[in-house]
Structure formats: C-alpha cells, structure tokens
C-alpha cells in the first residue's frame, strides 16, 4: 500500500516536471518577437488570444489543471503545516472546492469563447 504522503509528494514532483514545459510555452507566447508582432500589448490582442485559445485550448486546459493541482497541493501542505493538523478536514475540503470552482472557470474560458 502506497502512503498518502508519498502520493502527495510524487504528485508535486510530476506536476512540477510538466509545468516546466507548459509554463515555458505559456511565457514564450507573450514574447513579441516570437509572435511576429511589435509589442507585448499586441500579443494580447483579441485575434491573437482567440487563435491561441481555439488552436491550443486542450493544452491550455491541461496547463490550468496541472497548475491548479500543483498550486493547491502546495498551498494545502503549507496550511496543514502551519495549523499542525488542527483543521485537516476544513483545509482539504476548501482546497477541493476551490479546485472545482477554478477548474470549471478555466474549462468555461476555453469552451465558452466566441470569435471577436
């Protein structure tokens, strides 16, 4: 039987490895010279953003979910450590609810987008 703490730390490491690639890509698409535009502001233009979301929506969603998993798992760990295990249930429950809310919001951002 694998310990819960082992799963938790492996989750953090595996999502971290995925995030190296996903975050690098996410930051590089904001570099004007790589997008063939003049300024940083131009990379955020409606047409560019729509093209990004409609073409790479799945990748953006994977990025959002992996980032949320990594972020909330880390936040939960810190909060559990700070409270010395007094509010385990409350903290874990709140984190799961936040994950569902922001995961749904990210999904809606990709699915609900319309052309500008």
């Amino acid at each position: 039987m694998v310990k819960k703490s082992t799963v938790q730390i492996w989750l953090q490491y595996v999502t971290a490895i995925l995030l190296i690639f996903l975050l690098t890509w996410h930051l590089l698409v904001r570099v004007p010279w790589l997008r063939g535009v003049e300024t940083f502001k131009d990379t955020l233009a409606s047409e560019k953003v729509y093209h990004e979301v409609s073409s790479y929506g799945i990748l953006l969603l994977i990025f959002a979910y992996v980032a949320l998993l990594h972020g909330f798992n880390g936040l939960r760990t810190i909060l559990l450590e700070w409270t010395s295990g007094k509010y385990n249930g409350l903290i874990t429950g709140t984190i799961i609810i936040l994950f569902i809310i922001f995961g749904a919001l990210a999904t809606y951002t990709v699915i609900g987008i319309t052309p500008p």
Binding site: L23, L75, G112
Partner: protein, 155 residues
C-alpha cells in the same frame, strides 16, 4: 531557535518562522533563503493563479469589449503591466528553483556521495555542485526578470 513560551513549544516557533530566512542562526546558509523564497513565491503563485484564471476568462464571461478595455492598459507602467511583471518574476523564481529542487531532491544529482566524517566535518552536499546550482538560479532569475521588464514595459 525559539526557547518556547506559554503557547509556543521549543522547535515549533509558529508559522512566521517558516517564512523567516534567519530563524536558523547558521552562517552561510543560502539554501534556507532559497527555501523561504520558494515558499513565499509558491504561496503568491497559488493565490495569483486564481486571479489569473478569473481575469483571462474575461472574453468568455463578459465579452471581447471588456478584454480590449483591459488590454488597452497593457503599455507603459500601468496596473496591468506591473501585474504581469511581478507575476512573471514570481513564476521565474519558483520555476528555476523548482528545477533545482527536482535535480537535487528528485533525481539526487549535485549532492555528492556519502563519506566518512573527517575534520573539518564539511558535509558532502556542501562540497558538491548543488550550491553552484543555487547561485545559478539567483543569477538566471535576475537576468530573466530584467528581460521580462524590458519586454513588458519597453516592448
């Protein structure tokens, strides 16, 4: 380390201690600073990710007009560019230090091999390349953050 008061036990000096780089009174301890910065940037990232998902959902939630209004402020020194600048700085540090942690903790590289303790009792991990890796993180962080500032404010 805390001596312990009525409410705080020795060796458990409370949550503030976990973000204090100098809680361990050890000279030459950049690893502790790296840990505190990783924790602080991680906390900030977890909070900013929520705001980022909310803001980037504007075209789907509100519409492209609202998005265009926000993006009009993404030039020069404004709230929008400052947000991108600080978010990128936090992400750069957390990402670069995260790669170092993966190499050192997960893949076990740059920490040296166990050896018999001999005077002057310097741990193998302090003689191995992990500390060079740490200084590389600080240097790359500064370079990439300056470059980000150039792109966001000047680009």
């Amino acid at each position: 380390m805390s001596e312990g008061t009525g409410k705080v036990l020795p060796n458990r000096p409370g949550w503030l201690a976990s973000v204090n780089p100098w809680v361990l009174r050890v000279v030459n301890n950049p690893e502790r600073l790296a840990f505190v910065l990783h924790r602080l940037t991680g906390l900030l990232m977890a909070l900013i990710i929520m705001a980022h998902i909310f803001v980037t959902g504007t075209p789907a939630r509100v519409g492209w007009e609202a998005w265009a209004e926000e993006i009009a402020k993404a030039q020069g020194i404004t709230v929008v560019t400052l947000y991108f600048f600080f978010f990128a700085g936090i992400a750069w540090y957390h990402g670069l230090n995260g790669i170092r942690l993966l190499l050192v903790e997960f893949f076990g590289t740059c920490i040296g091999k166990p050896e018999k303790p001999k005077p002057p009792y310097l741990a193998p991990s302090l003689k191995a390349c992990q500390r060079k890796l740490l200084y590389t993180v600080y240097i790359l962080w500064a370079i990439l953050w300056i470059l980000t500032g150039y792109i966001v404010f000047m680009g």
